[in-house]
């Protein structure tokens, strides 16, 4: 009796632990690749990524996915219409296939009969991806915001935690928006994000100690908005913006976000001082970013001259002429000793190509510039035509990045610390909700097919009603807790002081020196 009981327990334990289905004996080969979601066919993945769980589309009642490793050993997963891969098995598979690939054969039971699809490969790169990312989760709403969070995700598994969320201390009347999280050189001990409206201020973390700063001064347009940490010094460049929203009545783009004014400032953390970097008349400067060596500050700027100043306010004119507003990419040399910037140099004349460039991001080796490019404007996440473009900073060739773009918006891109991975948001799934996609970028400057951030349940994105934005790679998780942020947020903000500089000196645009080629 006892023996039988042990056998039953052992059998149950075995079933519970392995869960490896058998490949069906009889099946019909359909000669097609399977329709799987998310689409992980022929992608290149890091050797430390979480399992690529997927579902098989169509009227599938059962399925088996057989993974063949480089040593020809196989392992199977699958149940109902989903392939859910055990985490431990998956990491063993990745380790075995590093620098090589996994062959995946999908068998699906449809209408009572089994079909075998053409196999596909999942290539496993040699280079790891940073183990953490952070992002903001927000409903793709317009002006309302509730349940807004800046969250961090362990890329090697499915663990996600809040860095901070706006429901901790915000109320109906003092609602709080949070945005623009950013880190110094991929490390989280020095980081920042903004709180707007209720308990507003910039939450600055230095050596894991949070402090709320008020960056608005009488001499600047606004508090800091889009941030850029200097890679080594205690300095942050920010744009300052007067931002407004308006809504399309028919266009599928739905929303237009515009800056009626914007400048670039530099915040000296140690001195708690703000100074202007660029505040040219008729220029809308925005999206600062440093080169990895900290010697140049790149940014975007749109030239906008009033034509209807006599009849309507600037916001009205910008609405009228929204398709005329186009951002170019510029840069300024930075003298760290004097905290001074050189003249403005044109890097990419997007307007000349009837395009608008945003969010320049320089690869960690300093060789490439990745930017979001659309036909106009600065808020490309709502522009279906927005794509990622890559400029080789040696040749100055700008090209639409192959393999990563879709018919819908791509934006909010970033490089991993080793420069081999890019993360960005894409609306390719359904045109309205932004999802995170990761793409391998090889040594030859070629991007490979992007894949969706893996989730434990392949149905996750179908039911998830929030969008991802501003993905940032991190080498480690944020150590300050949400409660510590909330506690600091309740305190009054430390006011930054303004230091007068001549932001216009040497700021004339040197078009003649700029060289740009667009492929």
């Amino acid at each position: 009796m006892k023996r039988t009981l042990y056998m039953v327990i052992l059998a149950m334990a075995f079933v519970a632990c392995t869960n490896h289905p058998k490949v069906p004996g009889n099946f019909e080969s359909v000669g097609l690749l399977p329709d799987i979601y998310p689409d992980y066919k022929e992608v290149v993945v890091p050797p430390n990524i979480a399992p690529l769980n997927f579902r098989i589309e169509g009227n599938v009642t059962d399925c088996v996915a057989r993974f063949t490793l480089p040593d020809n050993s196989t392992i199977t997963f699958g149940s109902d219409n989903k392939v859910l891969i055990d985490e431990s098995d998956w990491h063993d598979m990745l380790a075995a296939a590093q620098g090589k690939s996994l062959k995946v054969e999908v068998f699906a039971c449809e209408n009572g009969s089994w079909k075998a699809y053409e196999p596909f490969e999942i290539y496993v790169a040699n280079e790891e991806i940073d183990p953490y990312i952070s992002y903001r989760l927000i409903f793709p709403s317009y002006v309302a915001y509730e349940m807004l969070s800046i969250s961090q995700r362990n890329l090697t598994n499915f663990d996600e935690t809040d860095i901070y969320n706006n429901m901790i201390i915000s109320g109906e009347k003092d609602g709080q928006c949070i945005n623009c999280h950013s880190y110094q050189n991929y490390e989280t001990k020095n980081m920042q994000f903004h709180m707007r409206q209720g308990h507003g201020g910039t939450m600055l973390v230095m050596n894991n100690v949070p402090q709320k700063i008020d960056l608005k001064t009488d001499s600047t347009i606004s508090a800091g908005v889009y941030p850029a940490w200097h890679p080594t010094l205690p300095l942050i460049a920010y744009s300052t913006n007067h931002t407004g929203q308006s809504f399309h009545t028919r266009s599928k783009a739905k929303i237009e976000v515009q800056d009626s004014e914007s400048d670039i400032i530099l915040y000296d953390i140690e001195k708690n001082e703000v100074r202007l970097i660029s505040a040219e008349p008729n220029e809308l400067e925005c999206f600062p970013t440093w080169t990895p060596d900290g010697k140049y500050l790149y940014f975007c700027s749109a030239h906008f001259e009033r034509q209807m100043a006599d009849s309507i306010p600037i916001t009205g004119e910008m609405i009228e002429r929204y398709q005329d507003i186009r951002y170019n990419i510029y840069r300024k040399e930075f003298d760290a000793k004097k905290l001074a910037f050189g003249p403005t140099e044109l890097v990419y004349d997007a307007a000349a190509d009837s395009m608008s460039a945003t969010f320049p991001r320089i690869s960690p080796d300093g060789r490439y510039l990745l930017a979001g490019v659309g036909s106009f404007g600065c808020f490309h996440v709502w522009h279906p035509d927005a794509d990622l473009y890559l400029m080789d900073l040696q040749s100055k060739d700008m090209r639409k990045l192959e393999n990563v773009n879709s018919q819908y918006a791509e934006s909010y891109h970033n490089w991993s610390s080793n420069g081999r991975w890019m993360i960005f948001i894409s609306r390719r799934d359904d045109s309205n909700f932004s999802r995170l996609y990761i793409a391998y970028f090889d040594k030859d400057g070629k991007a490979h097919k992007a894949f969706a951030l893996p989730q434990r349940d392949p149905d996750f994105y179908t039911y998830f009603m929030r969008s991802y934005n501003v993905p940032e790679f991190m080498k480690e998780p944020v150590k300050v807790t949400p409660q510590e942020f909330a506690s600091e947020a309740r305190k009054p903000a430390k006011k930054a002081t303004y230091v007068s500089t001549d932001a216009h000196s040497g700021a004339s645009v040197q078009n003649q020196e700029a060289k740009h080629t667009v492929n």
């Binding site: 009545t249 028919r250 266009s251 359904d430 045109s431």
Partner: protein, 546 residues
């Protein structure tokens, strides 16, 4: 037998009171959302009292059929009553007091009114009753166990302690903007009454005459029922708005118009609904023949109602403004919890806008709720077959208003009615008769003389030789013949009857004015004779945008 009657009296009354609010309960089901599956369960469980919220969301769906939802909730309350009676060993007149928490729960369901649209507590309508029942049930089990093995006299103390421990999860009505605390009273009465029950059981007194107990019980239960009814939100405009929304959803336009006609002092939303019905039945020129003056809704407390939040998506949708309908459905979902009605609207707009991928997402989510499957089944083919979309009833009403050539960047300042009227009044490149009529009527509604003249000019140009509707002739007489008018109507062939009536209107107005009668009073007196004319609306009518 008598005992059974007394026991059933209050549940029956509660059931009837709920059925008297059947329209509201149906709307409640649309203002909530349940999604079967692990993702929704886990997400809901992360919040405080998440299990009760999840159960509340599940059960609130049953109000789709008010009789069924009401039956379930009354069953829960009745079970709660029996548990209380047994736990405290109440006898005779004491049993009556076990109905107090049930009474409080009933009031908490029917006193919400316009808060229905603003409440940020998913599953509110059931979650409190379920959690209260669970608290009572759990502690009742504990008490029964203690009675079996320990001192019977201390069982009720254990009950109270365990009960309050369970109530930590009780989802009390709460809203940060709420200033008069009437709606919170049931949530104080229900728990406190349980403490009273524990004390009452110590009173051993029972009346000698049994009939006295029966009469007191009967009167008290009637009083409970009457009080619950009186505390319920019975604003007739609120109920009519709900019925009109339901009729609009079903494209039953005559019902919408009848509701509006029946209202003595309709809200602006009701007027708008009526005019949507007239617009879709090609009778928009009759809009001033029925009451076109809308008032602000009476919420009964500090709540400020916004049209955008209670019906913005539906209004924009029926005026062919899909992006703005989608926008407000999304905003309201974000601000006031996920609601089935908003998800449906987002799906409809996406289908109509040919954004089929995102429409499929919303349909998939809706298909995971219990009572929206047939709605999904009806709309799903439209994703795959263009014919199905074109054949749909709604498409025939809305498609003529979709103006593909007109894309504007704009914002509505959260005032849909004002925005729609201004948008149409200023619309220059109208595409068909429906758009022409809406544009003309919008200018009249706003009393925008310049816009009317332009639209009237275009109308006559677009439809030469056709008889001009009476409304437009009335308006042209008033607004097109002034010195500042941008159009010349010297040779316009006005109907003689209209000209005569206009003269009479002016003469009556002049004579009353000469008699020193106040403007408002003149309006009241002239309404009977001229209330169906645009002239009356122009001089005396108004609407409140909110």
């Amino acid at each position: 037998m008598k005992k059974a009657i007394y026991t059933l009296l209050f549940p029956l009354a509660a059931y009837l009171i709920l059925l008297l609010h059947a329209d509201y309960l149906h709307a409640v089901a649309e203002c909530d959302m349940f999604i079967s599956g692990q993702a929704f369960f886990e997400e809901t469980l992360r919040t405080q009292g998440g299990l009760w919220t999840w159960l509340g969301c599940y059960l609130t769906q049953f109000f789709t059929y008010p009789w069924l939802g009401a039956m379930i909730i009354v069953a829960i309350w009745t079970a709660t009553y029996f548990l209380l009676v047994d736990a405290f060993r109440l006898k005779g007149w004491q049993c009556l007091l076990a109905w107090i928490p049930v009474f409080a729960l009933l009031v908490s369901v029917v006193d919400i009114g316009y808060w229905m649209y603003y409440i940020k507590m998913p599953g509110y309508w059931f979650s409190q009753s379920v959690s209260f029942f669970a608290a009572v049930l759990t502690t009742w089990i504990v008490v029964r166990l203690i009675r079996l093995v320990w001192n019977k006299d201390v069982a009720w103390i254990v009950f109270i302690i365990a009960y309050f421990a369970m109530l930590q999860q009780f989802p009390v009505f709460y809203h940060r903007n709420y200033e008069n605390h009437l709606l919170q009273i049931p949530f104080i009465v229900a728990p406190v009454s349980v403490v009273l029950l524990s004390l009452v059981r110590l009173i051993k007194w029972q009346p000698h005459m049994k009939w006295a107990t029966e009469i007191v019980t009967f009167i008290a239960l009637i009083a409970f029922s009457a009080t619950a009814y009186l505390l319920s939100f019975r604003n007739t405009n609120f109920q009519a708005e709900i019925r009109m929304q339901k009729a609009i959803e079903a494209c039953e336009w005559d019902d919408v118009i009848e509701e509006a006609k029946a209202a003595k002092n309709p809200t602006s939303l009701m007027v708008l609904f009526k005019n949507i019905a007239l617009m879709h039945t090609d009778r928009l020129t009759e809009m001033f023949k029925t009451n076109n003056c809308g008032c602000l809704p009476d919420t009964g407390d500090s709540l400020t109602v916004r049209m955008a939040q209670i019906a913005g998506p539906l209004i924009y949708y029926h005026f062919g403004q899909l992006n703005y309908a989608y926008r407000w459905a999304m905003e309201n979902n974000v601000q006031y919890c996920l609601q089935a009605r908003n998800l449906k609207m987002m799906a409809r707009c996406a289908i109509m806008n040919h954004e089929f991928d995102v429409a499929a997402k919303y349909l998939t989510i809706l298909s995971k709720s219990t009572f929206n499957k047939s709605w999904v089944k009806e709309h799903e083919p439209m994703l795959r077959f263009a014919d199905k979309l074109r054949e749909s009833k709604e498409y025939s009403y809305i498609a003529p208003l979709l103006n593909e050539d007109v894309n504007m960047l704009d914002y509505d300042n959260s005032l849909p009615e004002q925005w729609i009227l201004s948008h149409y009044a200023d619309l220059v490149n109208t595409k068909n008769r429906k758009q022409d009529n809406v544009a003309l009527c919008a200018s009249l509604w706003l009393k925008d003389e310049y816009a009317f003249c332009i639209q009237f000019y275009n109308y006559n140009k677009n439809y030469p030789g056709e008889a001009v509707p009476e409304l437009y002739q009335q308006a042209a007489l008033l607004m097109g013949t002034s010195e500042n008018s941008p159009i010349n109507l010297d040779n316009f062939p006005f109907d003689q009857l209209i000209l005569t009536r206009f003269d009479n209107f002016n003469s009556d107005y002049g004579s009353m004015s000469n008699m020193g009668i106040q403007h408002k009073e003149i309006g009241t007196r002239m309404r009977e004779v001229y209330g169906d004319t645009y002239w009356w609306y122009y001089y005396f009518g108004d609407f409140k945008a909110y």
